[in-house]
């Protein structure tokens, strides 16, 4: 089972997109990301907010939760196939 799962996991990787200019820095995405894949940046966007960064791509499962929670439509996670063949 565990091996099967691992194999499955490998077929996809989680990817996250951030639109910093929409972000209002609420940190909700970071807080509710189940794997801790994202963290808040130090930088400001043009409206003075810190925004999330995709710091640990390897942790991301592409579960979509960050995107569902983000009140500002500023982030979105999804799963991307790794390689066609496998």
């Amino acid at each position: 089972m565990a091996t099967a799962e691992k194999t499955k996991k490998k077929k996809f990787r989680g990817v996250v997109h951030v639109l910093p200019e929409r972000c209002k820095g609420c940190r909700v995405c970071v807080e509710f990301c189940p794997t801790g894949a994202i963290t808040m940046s130090d930088g400001f966007n043009s409206r003075g907010f810190h925004y999330p960064e995709f710091t640990y791509p390897e942790k991301c499962t592409g579960c979509e939760l960050c995107g569902m929670y983000c009140p500002d439509f500023a982030i979105y996670g999804y799963r991307e196939k790794i390689g066609e063949g496998e």
Partner: protein
Amino acid sequence: MSVEEKVKENPVEEFLRTDRLPHVWCQGCGIGTTVNCFARAVRKCGIPLEKLAIVSGICCTGRVAGYLKLDSFHVTHGRPIPFATGLKLANPELTVVVYSGDGDIAAIGGNHLINAARRNVDITVIMLNNFTYAMTGGQVTPTAPYESINTTAPYGAYEKPFNLPHLVASCGAVYVARWTAYHVVQLTKAMVEAMNKKGFSFIEVISPCPTIFLRRNRLGDAIAELKFYKEHSVIKHGADTSEVGWDETRPDEIIVGKFVDVERPDFIEAMNTHLSKRLGDKYVWWGKK
């Protein structure tokens, strides 16, 4: 939808007037979160986009109509339900969703709410309850918890708040559910069910308003509030609606779930059935037969 089919774009995007972003809502405001759920629900419910209309009143939540790329109507404060009634009755093929705030729906709009539920007009009401009139800066509402601080209840509220699922159920709503902005998955599902339900469906969504309600009541930020929902929510499908209200400022138990899901002919069906029974062939059937 299988994993492979997922597109690399925020699924909410195609439903948004992106030219209007960033939106007016505050940092951490739960409204946007519920819009994510709504967008997914619209995808899933199978209703053609051009047959889906959305109506909002005037309030923070009411701005939803302006951001959603649907036929969307931002009408007067408190009156989205009768406007939606007109839309639906005039074109029975439309799916009509009212998306608005607790003050809009349950304070000034209370009479429309109970009458639409009674008539079983086939619309879906998504009422975002942040326990206050957020847009005008946080006055006391009929949903404000006991002792909560509001600008017009500066020493704390002392009126009993409405138990809205119970109120609409007692008028005959056929679908009644409550979720919080924390329950994104369940909320999405409830929205799908409500939109596909024939008759008057009502979803209360409890949602953080960090700028006004949380700040004034020193309840922390959006994250704290979402965590509170997470920790204190108890899912009770089919709960007796008379038991889902609360009298405390911060309830120990927020009962969520699908409370009512029953069948009853909606307004148009009742009208068609009744009038054709009475008038026979002379009756001009309204809508698709």
